[in-house]
């Protein structure tokens, strides 16, 4: 029994698989990071340079490494910001992918400690974790400039280890599960009031304010809260089940589109293309073909 379990887990995490799911995730992550960080372009002076308010996570002490967290002059801040964009573009295009990922990770840590620690929420952690895992995955082994320069076709592909895709799938499922579990028991999630106020707080979009003015009865918000909890309970299971996956993807997408429309938190939409982690990469290669893949090839 134990031997079978070990064999199954070894196969699940260590088998070589096609890289297409990981490549889809890489492109989605790169695109999200580009948009996310381009928003800060007009504010490089305030966020990253000595012209803004500097509250690093660790107060710089002379003679120690913490001095690296002294906010730099504007020119250096622009140079570091430019390097970050280069790193992110390298990830997006799949060119010099490992180096680009490492550069991005180092700069995200640096900027996080410098200034962004005051804006680190669950999505920021998910984004960082995904960047690290994908950086080690070989997600540039298809749909990338690397494969274009190597094989003359951006759709050429090579097999990769399964573990990064599996870990990201586990993490997404656990995120929904943990969030659902908390929403089930937290006192503030026992009625629809929390969602009603989500339509009128500092994050709310103009459309959310307009919807709030419809003055819908509280049972509508109560119903939405129950619906969210059911969704968070169902997704960690149905995302894994090929038979129900398309419904799970649609329901998850509807939820994240709702969060975007109401609270403007569009970055959670990244989770939708990350559902590719639950898809057998073979489906990206030859839809409808159940024959196993063999070695390196061109799709």
């Amino acid at each position: 029994m134990m031997r079978k379990l070990l064999h199954a887990s070894r196969q699940f995490f260590l088998e070589p698989i096609a890289p297409h799911s990981l490549a889809v995730m890489r492109i989605a992550l790169g695109g999200t990071l580009v948009i996310l960080w381009l928003r800060y372009l007009p504010h490089v002076d305030m966020y990253f340079s000595h012209q803004g308010l500097a509250l690093p996570y660790i107060d710089p002490m002379p003679g120690s490494l913490s001095m690296l967290l002294t906010h730099p002059p504007l020119s250096v801040a622009y140079a570091l910001y430019g390097l970050l964009l280069i790193g992110i573009l390298g990830m997006l295009l799949g060119y010099g992918y490992r180096a680009a990922s490492l550069l991005t990770i180092v700069l995200l840590v640096y900027l996080g400690l410098l200034s962004f620690h005051n804006f680190l929420a669950s999505w920021g952690r998910l984004l960082f974790f995904t960047t690290v895992i994908l950086g080690m995955s070989g997600a540039d082994k298809t749909y990338s400039l690397r494969m274009y320069f190597k094989n003359g076709s951006w759709t050429a592909w090579e097999k990769v280890d399964a573990w990064p895709q599996r870990i990201l799938a586990i993490q997404i499922a656990m995120t929904y599960f943990g969030v659902g579990l908390q929403k089930t028991f937290l006192p503030d999630w026992q009625s629809g009031e929390i969602l009603a106020y989500a339509f009128v707080n500092g994050w709310s979009t103009p459309l959310a304010h307009t919807i709030a003015q419809w003055n819908m009865p509280m049972w509508v918000y109560d119903g939405m809260t129950i619906g969210v909890k059911i969704l968070h309970g169902a997704l960690p299971i149905t995302l894994w089940m090929p038979r129900y996956q398309k419904y799970a993807f649609a329901a998850g997408a509807a939820f994240h589109i709702g969060v975007t429309v109401v609270m403007g938190m569009w970055w959670f939409l990244l989770l939708v293309p990350l559902y590719a982690a639950f898809v057998n990469p073979q489906r990206f290669v030859k839809p409808g073909n159940s024959r196993p893949l063999h070695g390196t090839g061109k799709a």
Binding site: L53, L120, S122, Q171, P187, D188, W189, V200, N201, G202
Partner: protein
């Protein structure tokens, strides 16, 4: 198995252990590891957990030469969306470290605002901070930010 496979298996096992600890912390506020070690993994399992019924915004006032207090425009220092601005103004990572760290954070912030304003040609002998709070309203974010509804609270204790 090759050595590389053992390394990967070890890494996967460590990840699962940390995530399960994060989940245990989610359920029971307890884990086998210190909170600091599981905070990142717990943070990936956590929704926004509570809500307020008031909006909040940091307000800075500078003491002029004649002894009067003048409101300083903080918008250029906290660009971006209102939600992100509020996150930053509340110094959440300092707040997580306790009241002393939060108080030190706001003291440092006030002094930096004084220096930055001086660089911009506005000289204040002192800068003080408070948080304005006013009820949320369907009609818009600032609609009820009127003297009768607006209260000034301490940024550290939020009371």
């Amino acid at each position: 198995m090759r050595i590389r496979d053992y390394g990967i298996s070890l890494g996967v096992a460590l990840y699962i252990f940390l995530t399960l600890n994060g989940l245990a912390y989610t359920v029971a506020q307890r884990s086998l590891l210190p909170r600091r070690a599981v905070r990142f993994f717990y943070g990936m399992l956590a929704p926004y957990q509570s809500y307020g019924t008031n909006n909040v915004e940091l307000v800075a006032e500078g003491k002029t030469k004649d002894g009067s207090w003048e409101t300083i425009d903080l918008l250029p220092y906290f660009p971006g969306s209102t939600g992100e601005r509020t996150f930053r103004e509340l110094l959440l990572s300092r707040r997580a470290q306790g009241e002393t760290a939060t108080a030190q954070g706001y003291a440092g912030l006030a002094e930096q605002i004084r220096i930055k304003e001086m660089d911009r040609g506005r000289s204040y002998s002192e800068v003080r901070l408070h948080i304005d709070t006013w009820p949320m309203a369907p009609d818009g974010y600032e609609v009820l930010r009127l003297p009768v509804f607006t209260k000034a609270i301490d940024p550290v204790s939020l009371e």
